[in-house]
Symmetry: C2
Subunit: 258 residues, 2 copies
DNA sequence: ACCCATCTCATGGTTCAACCATATAACACT
DNA sequence: AGTGTTATATGGTTGAACCATGAGATGGGT
């Protein structure tokens, strides 16, 4: 079947059999010939259709599973089901790259700052009063937890604040990007433990006030100030320890819990 | 909002044999027991050490390869080499997720506009004169191609302009995100064919002028105006058809040509 | 000494034919 | 109506075999 060459655009190594299987299956999903929730043919059926061994089909399916395009279920009536993309896949890739020293914590938090200021600017234009009330409930919870010095809950609610904000932009692409980056931020936050201070909460209150006044510049500035202080705190905590050590530790811890 | 407990990470299924192999190999790399450039033991040796079949080792190695942690080389003295993180892994994950998510062209170009304005603002602060000269060379090329009505080359050079700009931010995370979104944009652009107009080129010239004056606001505004006009053009071409339909078509077309 | 062709062989790539573990629809039983 | 059992197609796993590759070793020619 793949006897002749398929030059295409910079195939890198299209030489392997299962790369071709991967490509065709990806194409099926991308072109929505199979929709989200649909089941692909069984491994044995695919092997026959592609005229390759079942092992090659398995390696291809494994790749699609790892990249989050399909989910594999065992048992009769199991199989490979197309599923909606999972942001933690991208998060994982980003975290892996930090382990491999492709970029630093400073790079990450800087990008996060730009993303969050963009998000807050958009939200200041688009949020309805109802949306702002829901944000207000979140901030109130943060204030209450901070008053009780319950820092783990403060950290948790703060994460939700950012998630809600990204959701309120109404733009799914920005949401995906934001979730991916925040996933890595969350790992670091978990590894270092909650910040025992209500500084972020006080910033939150002001951000919400700016949002209610639809003052995008002020809200963005407040967000930037908040994130800068968090970044400084982390840098002091981490000192000279390599970032891989931090997130590697948390990965191991999370796996143990599972 | 998520009122329930901790989201944490998906436990996945640790039940499969090769998941354990993956975990141990990842740990080796994360803990830097094997360093970048080192070679892992051969598939056969790993199979013996882990007491599993070679197929399971292969699926584990495949996973590590896909996530960009190792590179596989054939031939004697080949093997699995730990390699530095490859940004295109994250780029592909993001692009995959965008294909799976049901988002419209409007969502994509909107996110791209925010991203590009951020990029151009950062570059206006950080670019050296040498950097700007290199950008100038790119713009000059675009002007020349436009004068010759060579629209395919104009489109190609324009893509390079955005890539260079993202590179000049000096932030690898932003570069990765930018590349991911532009990858999808590029697919759409290829599917619809080049825009036969020098409007974009004229915007380019002005953006460069603003950059040389270090006028971030003006450069961002010019960029926004440019992208808005491109977006309008595409909307007339494709209406509200889902993005997956467009990009799927171009994949197929490229394959036929090969 | 140098160059180039040839050989070597451990490595990843691929196939095949089994068997195991699992989940669920359908059925049998209470 | 509810409960337990079974049949069976699915993914998970094994082991042995063979093919294709490519960096080093070899050796002959200049």
């Amino acid at each position: 079947m793949i006897a002749s060459g398929r030059p295409l655009v910079s195939p890198a190594r299209a030489s392997r059999t299962f790369d071709e299987v991967i490509r065709q299956l990806q194409d099926l999903i991308r072109r929505q010939k199979v929709k989200i929730g649909d089941r692909l043919p069984s491994e044995r059926a695919l092997a026959e259709q592609f005229q390759v061994s079942r092992n090659m089909v398995r390696e291809a399916l494994r790749m699609l599973e790892i990249t989050g395009m399909i989910e594999l279920r065992t048992g009769r009536y199991g199989g490979a089901f197309v599923c909606t993309g999972r942001p933690e896949i991208v998060t994982r890739s980003l975290a892996d790259m930090m382990h491999l020293a492709a970029f630093s914590l400073a790079d990450l938090t800087e990008a996060r700052l730009w993303l969050s200021t963009t998000v807050v600017r958009v939200v200041s234009q688009r949020a309805t009063e109802t949306d702002l009330d829901r944000l207000g409930a979140n901030v109130d919870a943060a204030v209450a937890y901070a008053a009780a010095a319950d820092w783990p809950h403060v950290a948790q609610v703060n994460m939700q604040f950012h998630d809600m904000l990204a959701e309120l932009t109404g733009n799914p692409v920005l949401k995906i990007i934001h979730d991916s980056v925040m996933g890595v931020i969350r790992e670091i936050s978990l590894a270092l433990g909650p910040i025992r201070s209500d500084a972020t909460v006080r910033h939150r209150v002001k951000i919400l006030e700016h949002l209610r006044r639809r003052d995008a510049d002020a809200a963005a500035a407040e967000m930037a100030a908040n994130l800068a202080s968090v970044h400084d705190f982390w840098l002091r905590e981490i000192g000279d320890r390599p970032v891989g050590e931090i997130t590697g530790a948390v990965s191991t811890a999370l796996r143990r819990d599972a």
